[in-house]
Subunit: 353 residues, 2 copies
C-alpha cells in the first residue's frame, strides 16, 4: 500500500522523537512492502517564529491531503509566563483539532510488565490495568464563547454541547467497548451541570443499540478518586473535553512511564497520532528524550488509520523487546545504569524489527 | 465559653457519625469548661421527605444564628438514578453554600503514620505529605446560568468569576500559606480559559502584598498528574470550584484513609465543618461507619471557628491514640482483625480524652 503522512514535528524534543518514529515506520514499510511519503509541515512555536501563526493554512492543507498525521509536541518556555499573550502555540493545537474535526481523543493507559515498579502506585493496584479514555476534543468549554465584562472585572467561559456532538463521541465509545470487554463508563457531573445531563441522557438513549455493552455512569470527582484506587476496574471511559484533559493526564501516571504513552485523535477528516508527553524544552537537542511514545503512536496509526494490524504488532513487539533488554533512554533506567540516546533506541528498534 | 452549634446530621450514616462527634465535643467542653448548645436541623433527603425541600428556610435560620455548623453527609440512592429529578439533595448543598456565603472549602490532606500502608501510593511517594486545598465554593460553573436551547438539543453551562471572588479566596490562600511553609500554588487552565486568566492575573497582582510567599502557577491537568506522583511537593493550593471538586477528591486517596479526612467551609456568615466522605447509604444504621473524619472536623471547628487550639489538639491526640491502638472501625482493619463499632470508637475517645 501507499501512504501519504503529514509530519508535524513541532517544538522542543518533537523533531527528535518524530525522527525515530519515521525511521521505525520506514523500516516497517520496507519489511511489509508499503510506500510512505512524508510531508513535513510547521506547527507550534516554530510556526509562530517562521510565519507568525501556530497553525498555518499551508499546514492545514497538508494535513487534509494526507492519509494520517504524525505529530510530535508543541510549546516553548517563552510563551509559558503569559497565558494571555495574543499568539500562543496552544491556540494552534485547538485550531488544528477544530479544523481537522478531530472530535475524539483516544488515550490508552496500560502497564508494561517490565516497568510496573516505576509506577507511584503499588503493583497490586495496577496489575492488569488496560483502559482507554475517549475524550471529546472539539467542544465544551474549550470552544464556547469566552470573554470579559464590567471593565475586565468579570470573566466568563461558556460550556456548550449539542446532542449530535455527544452521540458521535459516544458511538465511538460503544464501538470500542464492543471490541474489548464490553464495559463503558460515562464520566460526567450530571448532579450539577446541564451539559452533563445532556451527555447522560444521550448515552442512556443509545444503550438499546448496544445491548451487550454494560454502561455505568460516574461523577467526575468519583472517577478522579477511583482511577488511582482501582484503575483496573475501568475499561472504556467516555467524557467531555475538560474532564478528559484532567483525567487522562491523571491516568497517565498509572503506568509510571509517561514517556511511553501514545494517543490518537480521530474524527471527520483525518486522524492524528501523537505521544502524550509535551515538548520537554529542557531536553531539546540533547538526544536523550524517550522516542517510544511516538513510536507506539505510529503503531496506532498503522493499525487504526491504515488497518494494518500485523505491522502495528511488529512495532509493539520490538518496543517490548527493547524495554525487556534495557535498550532505553535515561528516564527509564535506575541511577548509575547505562542509558541509550534517543537515536540509539531508534536504531536498535530498526535493527531488531 | 458558650457556643451554639447548628447540627445538620443529614442522611445515611450522617446521624451516626455526627452522634460520635457530638459525644467527643461535649466531653471536650466539659473538660475545658465550655458550654455547647446543639440545635439540630434538617437537610438533604431527610429534609425533602419531611418538608419537600433539601435546605428548608428554618434550617438556614438555625445556621445563621449559630456560631458554627457541624454537618454529616447528604444523599440517598433513590435520587441517584435521575440527576435531572426536579428536587435533589445536592441542590440543598449548593443552596446552603450560597446562602451561608461559604466561599472557601478548606480540605487538608495528610498521612497518618500508622495508616500509611493503606494508601494505593507507595510509602516513599507520600511520606510527609501535608497539603491543603482551598476550593472556591460559591462561584464558577456550579452557579452560572445553565439550560437548554434548540428544543433541548443543545445544553450550556456558564462559568463566571469576578475579580472580587478570586481575591477573597486567594487572600485566604496567602494567609494560610503564611502560617505554613509560605508556598502557594494557583491551579488554573489559563492556557485555555478566560476565567483562569482572571484567576491568574488577580493572584499575580496580590503577590506584592505577601512578599514572603512563593507562588507557583500550574495547569489543572499537570496538577492532576503531579498530585499522585509527588504529593509532598505541594503545600497550599488554591483553585476554582470545579477543579477543586475533582482535585480534592483525587487528593483524598493519597492518605489511604478517606474515612479520616475532615473539611471546613468558611466565608461570610458562618463556617461549616464536615467529613469529606459521603452518606454511604449501604452502611446506614449498621453502626459500622468510621466516625473519625467527623470527629476531626469537630477539631477543626474548635480551632478555626472558636480559636481553641488546645481543645483541637486534645481531640487529634486521642484520635491518633485510637489509631495506634487499633480502636478503629472495619474500614481500617485487615481481614480477620477485630473491628470496633461506630459508637464503641466514640466511647473509647470520650473515655481516653
Ligand atoms: C495544551 C492544552 C491546550 C492541551 C489541552 O488542554 O487540550 C493539552 O493539555 C492536551 O491535553 O492536549
Ligand atoms: C454533591 C456535589 C454537588 C458536591 C460538589 O460537587 O460540590 C460534592 O461532590 C462535594 O465535593 O461536596
Amino acid at each position: 500500500m501507499k501512504f501519504n503522512i503529514a509530519l508535524l514535528a513541532g517544538d522542543g524534543i518533537g523533531p527528535e522523537v518524530i525522527n525515530e518514529a519515521v525511521k521505525v515506520s520506514d523500516a516497517i514499510a520496507k519489511k511489509f512492502n508499503h510506500e510512505i511519503t512524508w510531508t513535513p509541515a510547521l506547527t507550534g512555536a516554530c510556526a509562530i517564529d517562521a510565519v507568525g501563526v501556530p497553525y498555518p493554512d499551508e499546514t492545514h492543507e497538508i494535513c487534509m491531503a494526507a492519509d494520517a498525521v504524525l505529530f510530535g509536541a508543541i510549546g516553548h518556555p517563552k510563551y509559558d509566563n503569559d497565558p494571555s499573550a495574543p499568539v500562543r502555540p496552544e491556540q494552534g493545537l485547538l485550531l488544528m483539532r477544530k479544523k481537522l474535526g478531530l472530535f475524539a481523543n483516544v488515550r490508552p493507559t496500560f502497564t508494561f510488565p517490565s516497568l510496573i515498579d516505576n509506577s507511584p502506585l503499588k503493583r497490586e493496584r495496577i496489575e492488569g490495568t488496560d483502559l482507554v479514555f475517549l475524550r471529546e476534543l472539539t467542544g465544551g468549554i474549550y470552544f464556547g464563547e469566552k470573554g470579559r465584562r464590567d471593565d475586565g472585572e468579570t470573566a466568563f467561559d461558556n460550556c456548550v454541547y449539542t446532542r449530535v456532538e455527544v452521540q458521535r463521541l459516544a458511538k465511538k465509545g460503544f464501538e470500542l467497548a464492543m471490541t474489548r470487554s464490553k464495559k463503558l463508563c460515562c464520566v460526567d457531573k450530571a448532579n450539577v451541570l446541564e451539559t452533563s445531563r445532556l451527555w447522560r441522557e444521550t448515552v442512556q438513549a443509545m444503550e438499546k443499540d448496544y445491548p451487550e455493552v454494560e454502561v455505568s455512569y460516574e461523577f467526575v470527582d468519583a472517577v478522579a478518586m477511583r482511577l488511582v484506587q482501582w484503575p483496573n476496574s475501568y475499561d472504556v471511559l467516555i467524557t467531555e473535553n475538560l474532564f478528559g484533559d484532567i483525567l487522562t493526564d491523571e491516568a497517565s501516571v498509572i503506568s509510571g512511564s509517561m514517556g511511553l504513552m501514545p494517543s490518537a485523535s480521530v474524527g471527520e477528516h483525518t486522524s492524528l497520532y501523537e505521544p502524550i508527553h509535551g515538548s520537554y524544552p529542557q531536553a531539546t537537542g540533547l538526544n536523550i528524550a524517550n522516542p517510544l511514545a511516538t513510536v507506539l503512536s505510529a503503531a496506532m496509526m498503522f493499525e487504526d488509520a491504515f488497518g494494518l494490524k500485523e505491522e502495528a504488532e511488529a512495532i509493539r513487539t520490538v518496543v517490548n523487546q527493547s524495554l525487556e533488554q534495557g535498550i532505553v533512554t535515561e528516564d527509564l533506567v535506575a541511577k548509575g545504569v547505562k542509558a541509550y540516546s534517543t537515536s540509539e533506541v531508534g536504531d536498535w528498534l530498526v535493527a531488531n524489527l
